[in-house]
């Protein structure tokens, strides 16, 4: 009735490094299930999003149903079920940032990238998201590109930020998740 029993050793959708990390993670807590939320986030960091295969493997590793994993995963706003860009730009527009021009910044990102909320650029390099407070209120307006903070921004910073990440993308030349 519940999901299949993925053999976590031979059929992992994760890199050996991450799989090893997960093996350790489930042993870290008094209760295995405590590993669920971080595991989902780390899995997303590597795979790009929570695919069905990711959910199935996480369920098998924790020993709960896929439904249970989905119930939890859909609760947390950082977790996604569709691919994002290689660099996911998250613009905080909450009050402290809004008062200091976050919407102008957000609009500039939209213009420069040609995409809107939760859009992905055609080349898969960038995606854009308007997000809630990211805890950088005193250095507003602030954004996160994946996990990197950029603060005290003006719309004029936007082209430079994009150029910088595009450069990194070319430098490390990995295929993008899409």
């Amino acid at each position: 009735m519940s999901g299949g029993n993925t053999n976590t050793e031979s059929m992992s959708v994760f890199s050996p490094r991450l799989a090893t990390r997960f093996d350790a993670l489930v042993k870290k807590y008094p209760v295995k299930r405590s590993a669920l939320v971080p595991m989902l986030l780390y899995a997303q960091d590597e795979v790009g999003y929570l695919s069905d295969a990711v959910i199935a493997e996480v369920a098998a590793r924790i020993g709960i149903s896929e439904l249970d994993v989905r119930n939890v995963a859909t609760y947390y706003s950082m977790l996604r079920f569709k691919p994002a860009g290689r660099y996911n730009i998250q613009v905080c527009t909450n009050i402290s940032c809004m008062l200091r021009g976050a919407y102008d910044l957000y609009e500039r990102f939209q213009e420069e990238l040609g995409i809107g909320h939760k859009g992905i650029t055609k080349d898969g390099v960038f995606s854009l998201e308007e997000v809630e407070c990211i805890g950088a209120c005193c250095w507003a307006p602030a954004i996160q590109v994946n996990y990197d903070f950029h603060d005290d921004l003006t719309p004029e910073h936007v082209p430079g930020i994009l150029k910088d990440y595009r450069g990194r993308e070319q430098a490390d030349g990995r295929p993008v998740h899409a």
Binding site: M1, G3, A56, L67, R70, N71, T74
Partner: protein
């Protein structure tokens, strides 16, 4: 917990300390509204409808999470509280569609009722409502998110109640949805409990949706035909061209032995009665050898004439009778009386699903040692041997799970294979498939498992078809050794269908009279004219006799022995075969006369479940052209020249009139009429087709069936222990192992009848598909 005294709305109440305020109030008749609270399920405090004011507490408190303590003072209705509840409803109605006129729940919707009660009639909401398309999760379950108020009852009944965990909550905030376990599909037991507990029209039933309005139905409380648990089921019935049609089955009558519970078969398996293949005209085999429709009069006359002829020619010994697991006690009683006194034969049997005769014999002289189904919900310890209640006895499984969950009952399982209830078990013991015969010895031994079972002060032992004849006796002997205290051990023997137990209890046995009374010392049954004391043939022997050309006639009522015993059609070609059934079954197809019978849902009488709980079945629907097995038998007897008043004690011999209970949907006029008759000192005239007259005879004659009639006709379940209480020791029962042929039905099959249920076959197919997908994953 000691009792505490507290005050609610100025009334002094007493309840055990720690009782939830909402329960204490409801028990005292103080209604506290709630969407999310559901007795027996985990607490949510999510709907905020049950808010009350507690003295000295600053905020309103939820009655569903407040436990009562000495001296507390509560107010449950005040302008402040009414306002809070009204506002909550207003908030809900913000996104809830007001499609009540087309909503299945309209008229029986808790949100509607609360809106009415708290007067949230004015809409403050001017925004667009969230819309999501309706989803079909299975043939049985549809989900309409906009109507969902997120009370989580469905999630809990599925997880905590059913131990299936097929529903979850996904997303958050206003985007929250209830989600099924597969990709928009439900892979589950399809019990429909989620639909039943839904307070609004968010979860609707595939078989019922958009069919009718609740107030257009009559609701008839009767008993499910599909398994031996005997759940009370409420049938929603509507008039149609063919008579009346069952459009819904649910468990709104929560007073039954099943409480809240109903499984897929009970809820969706009623539709076999509407199957287009249903027989509505008698069939008689013509000169060309084909069955063709005939009038009732002709068919009855023909069958009666042939039976009379064969009885004259070869005596009763040349006639065999096979009864049913699904007909009423009254019909079964009448059938054996008809066989023994009219046909003059003890050649009577039924398709036995378990060895009730051995059960009765083993328990003879030990009153109080059988367990009713209700007791499974409160027994401190249960030993379950063999079987798979989750599939074969869903209500039993429900009671076991509930008892383990709420009362921490200890469940011990001995089985030759893993079963789902293992999850609730305190200990499990794997035994070889052929090891049941040695189990009594094992239990008496000193394994860890046996010692744990032995240490239980009070034990209910459940077993089924794996135990036959001497194995039943040795198991029960092991149990009875536990001591004289009737609480120390109680047994239940599990059979398959609605009246499998009743078939055996009513003497559809070649060597037993009703109540397992031996033919050799018939006692009260001496009043039967022409009763022979020689045991008759068992079902397999009858088939052997037919094969050998020694069976002149065979009367089959509501059974399909040709399929069950794999009978070669040629075997019956020399016998005159009369079949009473709903469909042209494999057996009926070989008959010379087929009478179209009514189902359990279209007749009245009583049935006895596997646990010996007797319940009244009530006529819910009508099918033009059909007759009850009871009436067919009486008419056959009449046709054979018998004074039917010797068969059915109707008229002046009847002790009690039918006060209309048996007429179900058609109550009203008849009730008032008979009450008027009684009030004027006039005896209501019973018809010879009134089964309740036979119930009186059962009560009078059948040992162990001296039932509390008033309690029974009021719709309660009444305990019986045939063959146990009155101290006689029956002779050894016939113990050929092939006498017991269990059906091993699943959640979606129900013998021959189940094949004619579209609802069940669709669910079976859906689940087979889900299973295949899961396996392929």
């Amino acid at each position: 917990m000691p009792d505490v005294t507290f005050t609610v709305d100025g009334k002094t109440l007493t309840a055990p300390a720690g009782t939830l305020l909402i329960d204490a109030c409801r028990k005292a008749g103080i209604e506290i509204p709630a969407f999310c609270y559901y007795p027996g399920l985990s607490l949510q405090a999510a709907c905020r409808m049950c808010v009350v004011r507690q003295e000295k507490v600053p905020k309103l408190q939820t009655a569903c999470t407040t436990t009562v303590a000495e001296g507390q003072v509560f107010v449950t209705e005040s302008p402040e509280i009414a306002q809070a509840r009204k506002a909550t409803i207003q908030l809900l109605l913000g996104n809830h569609p007001l499609d009540c006129p087309v909503c299945d729940a309209g008229g029986e919707c808790e949100l509607q009722d609360m809106t009415f009660k708290y007067g949230a009639g004015e809409s403050l909401y001017a925004e667009a409502k969230h819309h999501r398309d309706e989803q079909q999760w299975s043939p049985a379950v549809f989900y309409d998110r906009p109507r969902c108020i997120l009370c989580y009852r469905c999630v809990r009944i599925c997880g905590e109640g059913m131990d299936v965990w097929a529903l979850g909550v996904q997303n958050r905030g206003a985007s929250s949805v209830i989600a099924p376990n597969e990709d928009n599909q439900l892979d589950c037991e399809q019990c429909g409990m989620c639909i039943d507990v839904c307070p609004v029209g968010a979860l609707t039933s595939g078989s019922y949706r958009y069919k009718t309005r609740p107030w257009e139905m009559n609701h008839v409380s009767t008993v499910c035909t599909h398994c031996g648990d005997g759940c009370k089921v409420t049938l929603g019935v509507r008039q149609d061209n063919e008579g009346s049609e069952i459009v819904r089955a649910d468990n709104r009558d929560k007073s039954g032995i099943n409480g809240d519970f109903l499984c897929a078969k009970g809820r969706f398996g009623f539709d076999f009665v509407e199957n287009p293949e249903r027989l509505t005209k008698p069939l008689v085999r013509n000169a060309a050898g084909r069955l063709e429709p005939a009038t009732w009069d002709h068919a009855l006359r023909y069958a009666a004439g042939k039976l009379t002829e064969i009885r004259h020619a070869g005596g009763g010994a040349a006639i065999g009778v096979i009864g049913s697991n699904r007909t009423t006690n009254e019909e079964n009683y009448l059938l054996q009386k008809f066989a023994r006194t009219v046909l003059g034969t003890n050649n009577i049997d039924h398709v036995r699903s378990t060895d009730y005769a051995a059960f009765a014999r083993a328990l003879a002289g030990s009153p109080g040692a059988t367990a009713g189904l209700r007791e499974i919900g409160s027994a401190p310890a249960i030993l379950l041997i063999g079987g798979d209640p989750t599939n074969e006895h869903p209500l039993l499984a429900w009671h076991i799970r509930t008892n383990v969950r709420l009362n921490r009952a200890r469940l011990y399982i001995a089985n030759s294979r893993p079963i789902k209830l293992d999850r609730q078990a305190k200990a499990t013991q794997e035994i070889p498939a052929n090891g049941y015969n040695d189990l009594a010895a094992f239990l008496a031994g000193d394994s860890e498992f046996s010692k744990a079972v032995q240490a239980e002060a009070s034990l209910v032992v459940l077993f089924g078809e794996e135990f036959r004849g001497p194995a039943v006796e040795s198991l029960i002997a092991w149990g009875l050794k536990r001591g004289p205290n009737p609480d120390s051990v109680r047994f239940a023997c599990l059979g398959d269908y609605a009246n499998s137990r009743g078939a055996a209890d009513m003497g559809l046995l070649p060597d037993r009279l009703p109540g397992y009374v031996p033919l050799s010392s018939p006692g009260a049954f001496s009043e039967y004219p022409n009763l022979s004391t020689a045991p008759g043939m068992t079902l397999p022997s009858m088939l052997d006799a037919a094969r050998g050309g020694r069976l002149g006639a065979l009367l089959v009522v509501g059974a399909n022995p040709v399929l069950r015993f794999g009978v070669d059609p040629a075997v019956l070609k020399n016998s005159f075969v009369v079949v009473q059934d709903l469909f042209l079954t494999e057996t009926a197809a070989l008959a010379d006369v087929v009478f179209p019978a009514v189902s359990l849902y279209e007749k009245s009488g009583s049935v006895t479940n596997a646990f010996g709980d007797v319940q009244l079945v009530r006529k819910a629907a009508d099918r033009a052209g059909t007759k009850s097995d009871f009436e067919i038998l009486v008419r056959l007897a009449g046709g054979m020249g018998v004074d039917v008043s010797t068969l059915v004690p109707f008229g002046k011999r009847g002790t009690t009139g039918d006060l209309g209970q048996s007429r179900g949907a058609q109550t009203g006029e008849a009730d008032r009429h008979s009450i008027w008759l009684e009030a004027n000192g006039l005896e209501p005239k019973l018809s010879p087709f009134d089964p309740l007259a036979t119930l009186d005879e059962i009560i009078r004659l059948v040992p162990g069936y001296a039932l509390d009639r008033v309690n029974l006709v009021s719709g309660n379940d009444v305990r019986t222990e045939p063959g146990v209480a009155h101290g006689f020791v029956p002779a050894a029962a016939l113990t050929q192992p092939d006498l017991v042929t269990p059906s091993h039905d699943t959640l979606f099959t129900s013998g021959t009848v189940g094949r004619y249920s579209r609802g069940l076959t669709e669910l079976d197919r859906h689940q087979a598909l889900e299973m295949a997908e899961t396996a392929a994953d």
